[in-house]
């Protein structure tokens, strides 16, 4: 048994991204089978139509069922049951359906991956991976108004369904174009537009056209005004959550008051902020108000902006967990330029996703890519990239053009101090630095 165990090759567990891709592939395959059944003679009238398995078929047939007692042709009660499952999932797990189970989303992801490869992502120039040219993002001036298109489409389809016999969308539905296997000239056009837009702009249909996405956005309380605010459009002046933040007179808490914290202080004070600091050994006579261990909750509760610059040590790992984040004001902003593990990953994601914080700027992460070749990986097991109240940067707080010169000067200053018998930048190895 022992010998067998020794010779067994331990398989690395699949990453979440891999699992997602496999699940998406399974959904697409299932849709392909449903599409095959759809074109079999007589199946459409026997409940084998694509619309029958489509949650949006449930949206289309809802009003006719409530008003007339009958479902639209090619839809049925199963469409409503699947709609219930999709909306139920969105209430518990946000847009998980769009990312994990939607066949249209899966095909768009596949096309986006192909666009990246075709537009040069794999090429390496001087050891650096060249960025893909496609899929790209639309300019903000175009992106902003287009985001409302899906709400308009949803409203039009719901209105049209009242007097319809067949689902209003099914003549130009991209699901029919992709999986229906019986294409009309109109559906050929839809297919071409779908493929072209997906190659050029990542998840174009999801962002701008999907009426089911519009419905899920409503169930997630992601109202249009909130989206606008997150892109810098101030929106409704009467809603306090949509207003900007006046930094002057507010409290900035530096969690970690080493070289980075001290360097930040003049900048924050120049903005008119009152700077406070949390450190292991607070000084009563310090020039800023300092908090020590045991006073962290008190310090967080008073802060409007928190900047974390702590290293990852056994003492600091998970220092800011769910209980600590809960102490922050809902209007507080959090910045982490220290180490990811200082803030509990799940607690931070949940606080941001639930809007319990104004937002976060995160430079240091929980998962990093392998180099040579550079791996494509999201920086956390949680989808921070889907949150609009997060600014993400790839751990490049020190990536400035002349950082080598700055570092060399610092080393020189340390050596000069040592030669003069002075200590400089002493590292506390006992604390796990």
């Amino acid at each position: 048994m022992t010998a067998r165990s020794d010779t067994m090759v331990r398989r690395k567990p699949a990453s979440l991204m891999t699992i997602r891709h496999r699940l998406q592939a399974a959904v697409v395959f299932a849709m392909f089978l449903i599409g095959l059944r759809h074109v079999l003679p007589g199946e459409t009238s026997r409940g084998g139509a694509l619309d029958f398995f489509c949650p949006f078929g449930g949206v289309e047939t809802l009003l006719p069922l409530l008003l007339r007692g009958d479902t639209l042709r090619t839809t049925g009660l199963l469409s409503l049951a699947i709609l219930v499952a999709v909306v139920g999932l969105s209430l518990l797990a946000g847009r998980a359906f769009c990312g994990w189970l939607c066949p249209l989303g899966a095909v768009q992801d596949g096309l986006a991956g192909a666009a990246r490869r075709l537009s040069g992502e794999k090429r390496h120039i001087r050891g650096k991976k060249s960025p893909a040219r496609f899929p790209t993002r639309l300019p903000a001036a175009l992106d902003r108004p287009l985001r409302y298109a899906k709400y308009v489409i949803l409203a039009l389809i719901v209105l049209a369904s009242i007097t319809a016999v067949y689902p209003p969308l099914h003549r130009f539905c991209p699901v029919h174009a992709l999986f229906g296997l019986r294409l009309t000239p109109l559906l050929w056009g839809v297919l071409l537009v779908f493929v072209a837009t997906s190659l050029l702009v990542e998840r174009f249909s999801c962002k701008y056209l999907c009426p089911l996405g519009a419905l899920l956005a409503v169930t997630n309380r992601v109202v249009a005004a909130d989206r606008a605010m997150r892109r810098g459009d101030w929106g409704d002046d009467h809603d306090e959550r949509h207003l900007g933040v006046q930094l002057a007179g507010k409290v900035a808490l530096l969690v970690g008051y080493g070289a980075i914290g001290r360097a930040l202080r003049p900048s924050l004070e120049a903005l008119g902020m009152e700077v406070r600091a949390y450190r292991r050994r607070p000084r009563a006579d310090g020039s800023v108000r300092e908090y020590g261990p045991g006073k962290l909750h008190e310090a967080l509760a008073a802060a409007d902006a928190v900047v974390v610059s702590l290293p990852a040590t056994p003492d600091t790992e998970g220092l800011l967990g769910a209980a600590e984040l809960a102490r922050l004001k809902p209007t507080a902003a959090l910045v982490n330029v220290g180490r990811g593990k200082v803030i509990d990953e799940e607690a931070l994601y949940r606080a941001l996703a639930a809007g319990r914080l104004l937002g976060a700027g995160i430079d240091v992460w929980y998962r990093y890519p392998k180099r040579e070749p550079l791996e494509r990986v999201f920086p956390s097991a949680y989808p921070f990239q889907e949150l609009d109240n997060v600014v993400m940067s790839p751990h490049r707080g020190n990536d400035v053009r002349d950082w080598q010169r700055v570092a060399a000067r610092d080393v020189l200053a340390t050596l000069t101090a040592l030669a003069a018998g002075e200590e400089r930048n002493r590292v506390d190895l006992e604390s796990g630095y």
């Binding site: 567990p13 979440l16 699992i19 997602r20 699940l23 459409t44 009238s45 026997r46 409940g47 084998g48 139509a49 029958f52 809802l62 069922l65 409530l66 007692g69 009958d70 479902t71 639209l72 042709r73 090619t74 839809t75 049925g76 009660l77 199963l78 409503l80 049951a81 699947i82 219930v84 499952a85 999709v86 909306v87 139920g88 999932l89 209430l91 518990l92 797990a93 998980a96 359906f97 994990w100 189970l101 169930t219 309380r221 799940e346 097991a381 949680y382």
Partner: protein, 57 residues
């Protein structure tokens, strides 16, 4: 409650299936021949809608 991130796919699929089963149990079942004619299901759908609106609002 701390949930292992690796369980997320399982949670997504399980939640979807649980809600689907709930809807089927509440009477939103496919009928032989497809489609639905007759008014009694409208009451069930109205109740479901009320349930969802109650949880969302």
């Amino acid at each position: 409650m701390k949930v292992n991130a690796r369980l997320f796919p399982l949670i997504v699929v399980a939640t979807f299936l649980v809600f689907l089963a709930l809807a089927l149990l509440l009477g939103l079942r496919p009928e032989p021949g497809g489609g639905h004619r007759g008014g009694q299901t409208a009451t069930q759908v109205t109740l479901l809608l009320a349930l969802f609106l109650g949880s969302v609002l």
